[in-house]
């Protein structure tokens, strides 16, 4: 098993783990890579790069006003247009973030989550503290998670259930006018689609 910095305990590591660790150590020692850069890439690809299905829905809504209108009117149908759906994907309701409103999603009773568009729910989403505190003190929770919502923006928390699973449509970041739809999709994170991050 490896800890955050990839230092394995030799007695427990498998041959492949030892091989990869040895190569890493060698290349770091010779200055061809920095340990922290490896850590950063692992972090990015394990956690930050979001579920592309949801990201594609968001990017399409950003570039196509008619699609966005359909998405806000009937989330399940519009998401289905892009080929995404299936179990846990019914009753989708898409919430649009605006200059006046920031939306965030929780499931207080269990951990309802739009799997077809967002993949597996993160551990923190399923945790008791998140589920109980989000409805009582959302701004504090958001701030702790690194999401600072300006005071003049209203925070609305939506409780997912079997009848309504929510997906946040984040605001399109400034300065992205000349990006392609694929490039826009690459900007969208899971956290932004749950509503605990702003892009």
């Amino acid at each position: 098993m490896s800890d955050e910095h990839g230092h394995h305990h030799p007695a427990e590591a498998s041959p492949i783990e030892r091989r990869v660790q040895a190569l890493e150590d060698l290349l770091v020692e010779r200055g061809y890579v920095r340990r922290e850069d490896i850590d950063t890439f692992v972090q990015i690809y394990e956690h930050d790069i979001g579920p592309m299905n949801g990201a594609r829905v968001v990017a399409r809504a950003w570039v196509d006003a008619d699609y966005k209108a359909r998405l806000l009117a009937d989330g399940t149908a519009a998401i289905g247009e892009l080929g995404f759906g299936g179990p846990e994907g019914g009753f989708m309701v898409v919430l649009e973030n605006t200059d006046e409103v920031h939306n965030a999603v929780v499931c207080t009773l269990c951990s309802c989550y739009p799997w077809p568009v967002l993949g597996l729910p993160p551990d923190w989403y399923k945790s008791a503290p998140y589920r109980s505190r989000m409805v009582r003190a959302p701004r504090g929770v958001l701030r702790e998670m690194g999401c600072d919502v300006p005071d003049e923006v209203e925070v609305r928390v939506w409780d997912s259930s079997a009848e309504a699973r929510y997906l946040v449509l984040p605001q399109r970041p400034a300065g992205t006018d000349d990006l392609s739809e694929d490039e826009l999709a690459a900007l969208v994170t899971r956290d932004a689609m749950i509503g605990v991050a702003r892009l």
């Binding site: 490896s2 890493e24 890579v33 920095r34 490896i38 790069i49 299905n53």
Partner: protein, 85 residues
């Protein structure tokens, strides 16, 4: 920020994904992947510079898992470029 190395979505050299997210079945796989990307970036190279080695490794062992081939390719790549022996 993701950096400059463009990781493919499709093709035999593309890493396994689920809903666009990379799938690592064990920490060493993520480590090998991170090592490769950090190395390519540091050396100012792109995925296409690594792809040949990955393709060769997959061809040599078509039954082997992606990341086993990936580790082989990383070894071969490092040796070929004189970074390791």
């Amino acid at each position: 920020m993701i950096g400059t190395v463009r990781v493919p979505f499709e093709g035999p050299d593309a890493p396994p994904r689920s809903n666009g997210e990379l799938v690592f079945e064990a920490p060493w796989q993520g480590r090998a992947f991170g090592l490769c990307l950090a190395l390519l970036e540091h050396e100012g190279l792109g995925w296409e510079d690594f792809r040949l080695y990955l393709g060769a490794a997959i061809e040599r062992q078509p039954e082997a898992s992606y990341y086993l081939c990936f580790a082989d390719a990383l070894d071969a790549f490092s040796v070929a470029r004189g970074l390791a022996d």
